[in-house]
Each structure stands twice: as C-alpha cells, then as structure tokens.
C-alpha cells in the first residue's frame, strides 16, 4: 500500500493507483473535488481548471502550489491539500467565470435536479452572481428526434466533442468558434449521424444536451420510479435504468456495468423504450370466437380457455429469443420439452448453437465488452458492427488504440493524459483486419479490409487459421492476393491479445467455424485469443442453451401431424419464417394462442391473445452474447391485465390440469425450477438476491426519498393514499420507503449521494473509480471453455472442418444477403417514434457494375423473387458489395423472415407493380 497525505492526513491507496491522476484517486478515497472536463472513460485534458488543489513538495513546504488534480500523477508519500484556502478560492473563481454566460434557467432546464454543473456550483460555494454584463447567447440547432440542444448552458468543458469524435468516431459534430463564443454543434442543422449521440445527454455535465423523447413526458429524476434493468434491443445486454411515472416509461439511462457497457448505451437502446408506452399495447386478454374480431375477455376467462385448449388436443409451443429465460422455460414445461421450438429463424438458431459449441469446447473464451477494449489486434469476419452489436464499436475503437498507447507510454506519457497521448499517436492505429460483404462505418479504423461474399470471408478465416497452425484445415485455390492478405493477418494476430470478432450478420455458420479455428490456432501457439460474437436478440444465447426444436420443424410438425394448438410466446412468427412457412401455420393450426406486448402479423391471426409484460413491467433473466446471464427487474406495475408471460403460463399449468397449484407463483420459484431442470442455468438464481432479501429488515425502494406527490398523486380520483403496488418477485418495493443507504449493486437502480444529484454520483458506488461497483454483481457467465483455459501443451484441439467452396456468381441468380440496420431491424424499438423516424426504408442494393448489367439506375423499382417472397423495392447502388450479391434490409416492419443468404432473381419492376412484399 502507498500513502497519500491529504490535508495532512495519511490515506492508503492501492499500489496500482500510484501513477493515476490525483482527481481519480481522491474521488476514489471519497473526497469531493469539483471537476468538469475529466471523465473516467476519456481521461484528463486539464481544460476546465475546476479540479485545482494544492501540491506540497514535502512536509516542510507550507506554501505549496496550485495544480490541476486531474493532470498530476499520484505518488507514494505525496502531500496535497483540497481544503487549502487558496485552492478553495481558486475553484470558486473558476466556476464563477465558467458561469458568466450561463442563463441560470435551471427551473426550465431538463437537466435541473440531476445536473453536474448545479452540484459543482453548490460544492464550490458560488452562490452569488457579480457579473453585470450582457451574456452571450447562441442559436440552437435541430439535431434530430433524439437529442435536444440548448447551447447557452455550455461551460466549454469539451466533453461532448471528445466523446463524439474520439470515443464514438462521429465526424458531424465538433467545436466551432473561439474566445467566449465557442460553440459545440454541427456545421448546420440536421440529425446527428452517430449511433451513440444519445450519450451526449449523460456526458455533458450541463443542460446543453438533453433527451428529446423524455421532454415530451418530462419528469425530474427524483420523481421517477426506477429499477435495474437490461436492454432488450440487441444481443449485447447493456445495463440500463428505465424510469417511470404515472404508468408510462419516461426514459432510459445508462446503468454502469464494469464488465459490459461501462458508461454508455447506443441510441437504439436509449431511445427504443417508447414501445412500452405505445397506444397499441395489448393490455387485456383478447379472444376471437367464430372468426369474428378479437374481443376483450377477463384474465380468468382467458386462462380457462387456454386450459381447455390444452386439455382437449395436442399442443406445441414456440418460444422467443426476445423473451426471458423464465418465459421460454415455462412454455417448454407447459407443452413438454419435446414440443418446444425456438422462435427464431432456423438459420439464426444454427449459427447461435454453433457459437455455443465453439465457446463450450474452448480453449478461447468469449470476450466481454470490457475485455475487448484491452485487446490489441483484431480480425473481424462478416460483421457490420454498428448495426448488429452497436456498443461493440466503442470497445473496438478503444482496442485499436492499445498498441499506439503502449508506444506512447515509452515516451513517459501518463496513461491519463488524453490530449498528450492523442498528440503523440496522431493517426496511428493498431492492426485491425476485416472481411466484410460491403463498406461499413468502421472502415476508417481498419488496417486492411477484404470485401467478399460470406463464403469467401469464411475461406479467408480458414486460411488464416491454417497459416497460424498448419494442423487446421487448409483452403484450396485461394487467389494469390487473398493468400497474401491471410498471411498478413496471421502474422499480425500472433500478438499478446488478439480478438476474433464474428457473428450472425452474414447468416453464415462457416464464418463461425472459421473464427473458432483462428482463435484456437492462436491459443495453441500461446496467444491469449478471445472470441466476440454478435447474436440477433437479447436472449438468443439463453434460449439456444435450452433444448428445443428448430422453427422449421414446428412448421413441419404442424403440417404433418394433427397439432391442434400452437402457443407462441413473444415471437412474431411472420418475422421468423418464410411466407410459405407462416402461411402453412395459419392454414393448418386450429388454435393459435399468442402472448405478446404489441399487435403484429401473428397476433392478428390468433384465437387467444394474452398481454405480456415488457422488460419494464416484469422481471426475468436474459443471457447476452458472451453468455452472461443478467437480471432485469420490474420498474412499475403495468395497467390492465399485463403480466409476465411465465406468469400466464404458470396459471395455464393449473387450468390445463398439468399442476395442482401454480408451479411458479413468483420469480424465485420459476428460477429455482429452471436451475433444477437445466443444469447450465444452475447459477442463474444467484445473480441477484431472493425476494426475501432485506437490509436492516427493509426492502429496497424503487422511488427516491424525494419522490413527490406520494399522498396526492391520485388526488383527482381519490383522497386516499394509494398503497404501494405489491411485489412478490423481488427485494424491491414500489415505494419511497425502504432501505435508505446503498443497496448491493444488483439492486442498484439509481445513483444519488449527498451533494451529488447527477449521475456522477456513480463515483460513490464504485469500489474504485472506473472499477467494479461495491458488492459488484455484473451477472454470471454461463459458458466457459470446458476445463478452463489449459496451457498450450495440454491443448488437444480438434479443428472444425467444412471449408465452404468459393463463391461463384450465377448468371441468372443473385446471392441475397441481409443488411441489418440499427434503426429498423429491431422489432420492438420500431414502435418508438424517434427510432421509426430514423429507420431505413426498404431497398435492394447492388454494386454499380451489377446495377449497370441490369440496366438499372438508383431509385428505380426492382422486383426480387427469393424463396416464396416477391419483393418490390427501390434500388440502392452501394459500393463495396461483391459482384453477384444483392443486399436487402433485414427485419424492417412488413418484411418476412426469409432465411438469408439465399439465391434470388431480380428484374426491373413492371409498370404498376406495387412496392412491398407478396407471396409468389
């Protein structure tokens, strides 16, 4: 342990904190030093001058000198003062000057009450404004539907620009002007182009950037009911804090998970929440009798009806990768494991299972987002990562800096001196190689890219593996330039921390197999390779860990042997099946029962619809892309009969005579059953404490101690105070009463500490700044390589074979590949107006030469026949697509789930041919 003297008191600091900046170290010790420009994720630039302290030469130095604590390395035995009168005075003057032009409009500012600037102003004691001159003011910009801009509140800390440009790689935002007219914004009004722009809301310590969607139903932080949650909009499982009031979800904020998303979210995750408030929500059970329209019925009647259906005939169930483990498990139990099918396209299931197989066998483990940041050499196969695993972009952007930063360290630059490091490394980047089927937004980070069809990308991967370890299968007939490229990659990857990225983007199992060979070959050579896979949905990995048939088998079963009832839990089959498969189900099944939260093509044909809780209205468990199981908690009790699907299914167990009493009346019960029945989930109940958990005899409140209107919130209807909504599932309460201090991290749904009203209060919840939370609970990884990670000699690797043949373009046919879109491809977030506004419109994309060969021009309507679907959409001409390949956006509303890649035919649309999709 080293010692730091703060105001003459010795404080022990951890050995690895020596050399870190004093601000970080002091905050970690629990001291309050005001700061603005420093951020744990992008370190120090010493721009704001707010974090001044006194530094003394030794114990005899009584005068000391003022330094910026964020710019000075902590040393053993160092003596500093935070309370020195000159330092206090200095900080007070700095904030007075930062506030010269500030409009003092806190009451109408959406940041008010959780504003770092407010907190720091109070902390420094600047309570009286002396400046009597006119304030400068700016014209604000319209930056699109997600982020609001109010420049007058800016204090020029430069955090927004640093995040947007450095961390997120955005190029349409920056710093303009000089002197006291420094402006943070865009060249001209328009939608912020970065998929991470929403983080400006949290990164900016003032009210310049605020959440535009929240503004439409604004609620102050202390009036929100919140609980720890997990994002449901892609497979990465970022941790979130949703906030509710008056029965509607008001916003999503980042929840810090050291291992997963750190301080950030993507805009799909932050702004996708509004589907919860959709006016189209299914809030009551609906029954269709005699082919009439669906009509509301009572919950009891619905359960009885479902019970009768299950009594009378044979039933099968289709689960969902966007539903919790609990719901998928409950459905499998209700219909019997042999009658349970996975509600995802068969292709996706096979790919995800291939990944699981690779991760189980090992020796290369999956990387968390945090692990990825520390990798220094990357080979990415097939992924357009901005659109299939957005937050991974931030990790990869960090990873390419690892080598240059290591070089900079040789120049004796401290690792926190952000501006100096950037100056030293200029445009240098570490090795990053990709094989992708077109251009991607990450291309400017890439050392060298190969653009090819999925098979050829897989072949490149296999070739790389073979070059690292000749025992891995070789690739025949690779063109010479690709051999050279593979050699270059193979050489670069043999480094300390290589990362292999692959996923579902190309719909190719071969790519997954190739990625495994590369990672394993590296492990065999003693390099600590990690694998990072993207998966389609928030619980793809979790459901794939369960037994269950492929969805195409469900169609087969329905088509062939008299199945009467199909129960679908939270899956829109239209998106998972080809048009003909979907059609078969509709024609053959007698009783279609659907549990879901929003109407879709499947509920439209259902006999019985049960209202399912969204992530904000129920509790459960999701398993992310690295196989990390994480719990999300109910934020608020929903109106109507909405409840978790597993609760409906529990009731159906009784109604159908399969159980005497409800087998899973609460979350603990369903978790216990899950853990007992499926060994891989044995650790899942332990991720969070049981519902009986109490702190000093108290549960944990979801509402803050400042929550307003408890006794008056229903005054328009009743003079009585509403009792808290019951909660038998969790140790949380729908109340402002309960344990008033810090709960364990797994129950932490709000950051607040005395004097720290903004999210920067997070400082007070971390074991050390930028480190794990107190009583950390970052979820549990369910799959690790079997037998741990053995030494290189002990490795007995069986490489995966089935190297695919090279892609051959066909004369009359085109290889149709999916193009994913961060805004558009996710089903639920498309019910959020802001996301829908930014979403891609359907198109068919070819490269220029191919478009020319068809005599087609951009914008022209083209008709493509693929499987049983005929799609007519405008043509987009995109560079980078391989010859003979056409891309079509995946998962946009109205598009069926064609299993891509597949071969299709294209022709110019005939006059009068309608745009859209129809059956062949």
């Amino acid at each position: 342990m080293a010692v730091l003297y703060v105001d003459n008191q010795p404080h022990e600091i951890r050995p690895h904190e020596v050399g870190k900046n004093l601000l970080k170290v002091c905050l970690g010790l629990g001291f309050n030093i005001p700061y603005f420009c420093w951020h744990p994720a992008f370190q120090s630039v010493g721009a704001c001058r707010q974090c001044a302290i006194k530094l003394f030469k030794d114990e005899h130095d009584t005068k000391g000198k003022i330094v910026m604590s964020c710019m000075v390395s902590a040393k053993d035995g160092m003596r500093i003062s935070i309370d020195d009168p000159e330092a206090i005075e200095f900080r007070a003057r700095v904030i007075e000057w930062l506030m010269l032009n500030h409009p003092h409009d806190c009451p109408v500012c959406d940041e008010g009450g959780e504003c770092h600037l407010q907190d720091m102003t109070v902390m420094t004691g600047h309570t009286y404004r002396r400046n009597r001159f006119a304030k400068r003011s700016f014209r604000n910009q319209d930056m699109g539907p997600l982020v609001a801009h109010e420049m007058n509140r800016c204090i020029q800390c430069y955090r927004c620009a640093r995040f947007y440009r450095h961390s997120a790689g955005g190029r349409d935002f920056g710093v303009m002007g000089w002197h006291d007219r420094v402006f943070f914004g865009r060249f001209e009004d328009g939608v912020l182009q970065s998929e991470f722009a929403g983080n400006l809301v949290e990164v900016c310590p003032t009210g310049v950037f605020t959440d535009k969607t929240q503004a439409r139903h604004f609620t102050r932080k202390w009036d929100l009911q919140t609980a720890p949650s997990v994002c449901v909009h892609c497979g990465l499982g970022c941790n979130t804090i949703p906030g509710e009031r008056y029965g509607s979800l008001r916003r999503i904020r980042n929840r810090y998970n050291h291992r997963v998303n750190g301080y950030f979210l993507c805009d799909r995750g932050r702004y996708g929440y509004e589907f919860v408030n959709s006016p189209h929500r299914i809030r009551q059970p609906l029954l269709r009798e005699n082919q009439a329209a669906l009509r509301p019925i009572s919950a009891q009647a619905a359960i009885t009806h479902l019970g009768n259906l299950l009594h009378s005939g044979r039933a099968i169930g289709i689960g969902s990768p966007r539903a919790s483990l609990e719901t998928n498990y409950a459905l499998a139990k209700l219909v019997g494991a042999e009658n349970f099918y996975h509600g995802m396209p068969t292709k996706h299931l096979r790919i995800v299972r291939a990944m699981l197989d690779v991760l189980k066998r090992g020796p290369a483990p999956s990387a968390s987002l945090h692990d990825m940041e520390k990798c220094n050499t990357i080979f990415m196969m097939g992924e357009d990562i901005h659109n299939v695993g957005p937050l991974m972009v931030l990790s990869l952007r960090q990873a390419v800096l690892q080598k240059p930063i290591a070089e900079a360290a040789k120049l004796h630059i401290s690792d926190f001196e952000d501006a100096v490091i950037r100056e030293a490394i200029q445009q240098e980047k570490g090795p990053f190689f990709t094989g992708v089927p077109g251009f991607t937004k990450l291309d400017d980070q890439v050392t060298q890219a190969y653009r090819g069809a999925p098979h050829d990308i897989a072949r490149l991967g296999f070739a790389v593996a073979h070059m690292i370890d000749p025992a891995a299968p070789a690739v025949e007939d690779l063109p010479v330039e690709r051999v050279q490229f593979a050699q270059r990659i193979a050489k670069a990857l043999q480094d300390k921390k290589p990362l292999i990225v692959a996923g579902y983007n190309c719909g190719s199992e071969s790519i997954v197999r190739a990625s495994a060979n590369v990672a394993w070959a590296l492990r065999k050579k003693g390099f600590a390779a990690h694998l990072a896979y993207t998966v389609p949905e928030c619980n793809s990995m979790g459901t794939a860990l369960m037994d269950g048939g492929e969805i195409d088998d469900a169609v087969q079963a329905i088509a062939s042997n008299g199945i009467d009832t199909l129960i679908v839990a939270e899956s829109n089959l239209y998106r998972q099946l080809s048009l003909s498969g979907f059609d078969t189900i509709l024609r053959r099944i007698k009783h279609l029962v659907v549990l879901d939260c929003l109407p879709n093509e499947t509920t439209a044909w259902a006999e019985l619809v049960l209202p399912a809780a969204t992530f904000a209205e129920g509790s459960g468990t999701l398993v992310n892309n690295e196989c990390r199981a994480q719990r999300f908690y109910q934020v608020f009790s929903p109106a109507g009969d909405v409840r978790e699907s597993w609760k409906w299914l529990s009731a159906a167990m009784v109604a159908s005579g399969r159980a005497q009493s409800e087998p899973w009346p609460d979350l603990d019960a369903v978790l216990a059953a899950l853990a007992r029945d499926i060994p891989v989930f044995a650790k899942v109940p332990g991720i969070t404490p049981p519902s009986s958990f109490r702190l000093m005899g108290m549960p944990v409140p979801r509402e803050s101690h400042r929550f307003s209107g408890r006794t008056a919130i229903d005054a328009d209807q009743t003079i009585h105070e509403r009792p808290p909504e019951p909660d038998a599932d969790t140790p949380l309460r729908h109340s402002m009463e309960g344990y008033p201090l810090q709960p364990p991290a797994s129950l932490l749904g709000r950051y607040w500490a005395p004097g720290w009203n903004s999210d920067h209060a997070l400082n007070k919840f971390q074991q050390e700044i930028d480190g794990p939370l107190r009583e950390d609970a970052p979820g549990v990884r369910l799959v690790e390589p079997s037998g741990g990670q053995p030494s290189a000699e002990a490795l007995n690797i069986e490489y995966l074979g089935l190297v695919p043949p090279a892609f051959q373009r066909r004369a009359e046919e085109w290889l149709v590949i999916p193009a994913y879109h961060i805004f558009g491809s996710d089903e639920l977030s498309m019910h959020s107006p802001g996301i829908a506004e930014l979403a891609a419109k359907p198109y068919l994309q070819l490269n220029q030469a191919d478009a020319d060969s068809l005599g087609a021009t951009p914008g022209q309507l083209m008709t493509m026949t693929v499987e049983s679907a005929v799609c007519t959409f405008p043509l987009k001409v995109g560079p980078g697509l391989p010859d003979g390949v056409v891309a079509i956006p995946f998962g946009l509303p109205g598009l069926p789930g064609v299993a891509l890649p597949a071969w299709g035919k294209i022709r110019p649309a005939q006059p009068g041919e309608p745009t859209g999709v129809r059956q062949a």
Binding site: R171, D172, F173, G174, V175, M176, G177, W178, F183, R186, F187, E188, Q427
Partner: protein, 154 residues
C-alpha cells in the same frame, strides 16, 4: 464549386503532408485569397477535397479570426486594439475611422469597399497606433493621415 486553380493550389498544399487534413487552414487561405472570404459552400467543397467532414473544416475555419466566414469588403482594415495601440490612441482613431467610413467595427461600407475589424496586436507596437489594410501595415497613425491612406484603396 472551387475553381480549377483553387483545386490545384490546394492539392499542392496537400502534397506537403502525410495526411490531407492538416492542409485545412492552408486550403481555407487559398479559397479566401481567391474570393475574399469563405462561404458555406466553399467549406463543404474544401471538406470534400480533403476527405474531411464540413464540421471538421468549420472547426478550423471558425477558430481563426482572419478566415472570414462572412462576406467582407474589397479591402479589410484591421485596426489594432492591443495594449500598446490602446495607450497610443486607438480609441480616437477607431472613432475617426468609423466616422469617415460611416460604419462600426465588424461592418462593411455600403459600397462594399471597406470592412473594419479589430485585431489584437499586429506586432508593430513601435509604430503604435497602427492598422493593417489588406497586406499593408500603416503605423504612427493620426486622424489626419487617414483620408490619404484610405484613398489608396479603390
């Protein structure tokens, strides 16, 4: 649209650096030399040539006070308002110039002949008070000398 000549000059600048973006300020100066100022349009054009975003070019353009992002007169008068000139009569001079031209700091005469701008230090304190018109420095100024100097700029 940038002229062929402007493009050529910018390309020549780019050739001096490892990457293209460091040529941003020179490119902006080239455009300004040809057109007197840099329009929104020109910012976008420069961005395209340099492989930068308009926002990146704008950051540079607006950082330098002598890159004009608004239309200026045929001749730009930079009157020095730094300490030495201030002591030596900057204020009288500024008022006189303003009266003669009929404009205030930051404005352009209605005939488009002169734009009057303040400048913090021209580096000729020994000749204070001073001003600069286009490329020429004029020192030891008095109100009496002004009409004659201005008459040299049509």
């Amino acid at each position: 649209m940038l002229s062929e000549e402007e493009r050529k000059e910018i390309e020549a600048e780019c050739a001096l650096y490892e990457h293209r973006r460091p040529a941003t300020s020179e490119a902006l100066k080239i455009v300004q030399r040809h057109r007197g100022w840099v329009s929104d349009e020109a910012v976008k054009d420069v961005a395209e040539i340099l492989g930068a975003s308009a926002d990146e070019v704008e950051s540079v353009a607006t950082f330098y006070t002598l890159i004009f992002r608004q239309k200026v007169g045929r001749h730009v008068i930079l009157i020095c308002d730094s300490v030495s000139c201030y002591i030596m009569g900057y204020e009288t001079l500024k008022e006189h110039l303003g009266r003669v031209l009929g404009i205030e700091l930051g404005q352009t005469t209605s005939d488009g002949r002169f734009t009057l701008l303040p400048n913090a230090c021209l580096g000729v304190c020994e000749q204070a008070p001073a001003m600069m018109i286009d490329e020429d420095v004029h020192g030891h100024l008095t109100p009496e000398k002004i009409p004659d100097i201005l008459s040299r700029y049509a």
